[in-house]
Amino acid sequence: MTEYITLSFLLFTIGAVGVIVRRNAIVVFMCIELMLNATNLAFVSFARQHGNLDGQTAAFFVMVVAAAEVVIGLAIIVSIYRTRRSASVDDANLLKA
């Protein structure tokens, strides 16, 4: 069982690093999705380990939420892209840090 957890943790870390390192909003966003899926993996593995269904149900909800997030997130990214022709996070710098 620990392999799955390790894998999920690895995926999560890769996603997190990606979010921090990458500059393209879409890529950042995909990294976040990767993290969500890593979470799902963890949920399902733990569900198996504990022998109850809570984790699997949780994975269900996570999928739905991830989908909703995709809809909203892509809409925002697309609208920014339409106005600026760039999806780089660094190009969005009207708000001073």
């Binding site: 269900f60 999928m63 739905v64 989908a67 995709v70 809809v71 892509l74 809409a75 697309v78």
Partner: protein, 119 residues
């Protein structure tokens, strides 16, 4: 877990076949260089340059994708419900119906606001 082993086997066979076919293509066919041949095809006229990133595509495709996601999620919920249908009480039944009503409302909203106009 063993249920999935045959799938892997079949997948391996298919993958091997596909890789082999695509892989031997350079050796089976002729290779005669021709600049026009390597250009993209545009009905016989000189191809117009593509903008970066493939250029813009209609936002309608985005709408379609979004709607698909919403409805696909709906289906994801409906399948377990359907499978367990006979074991479910009225409560679960009504809950899913309520869920469907909600989806329908979103659907009507999208329809009315022009999200499904393809013309």
């Amino acid at each position: 877990m063993n249920d999935y082993v045959p799938i892997v086997v079949l997948g391996a066979i298919a993958l091997a076949f596909a890789l082999f076919s695509v892989g031997i293509a350079p050796f089976t066919g002729p290779a005669r260089y021709n600049r026009a041949k390597l250009d993209r095809y545009e009905s016989g006229i000189a191809p117009s340059p593509l903008p970066d990133g493939g250029g813009r595509v209609s936002i309608k495709y985005f709408f379609t994708a979004m709607m698909f996601i919403i409805f696909d999620i709906e289906i994801v919920f409906l399948y377990p419900f359907a499978v367990a249908f006979d074991q479910l009480s009225w409560f679960a039944f009504l809950a899913v119906m309520l869920f469907l009503v909600n989806i329908t409302i979103a659907y009507v909203y999208e329809w009315r606001r022009g999200g499904m106009d393809w013309t």
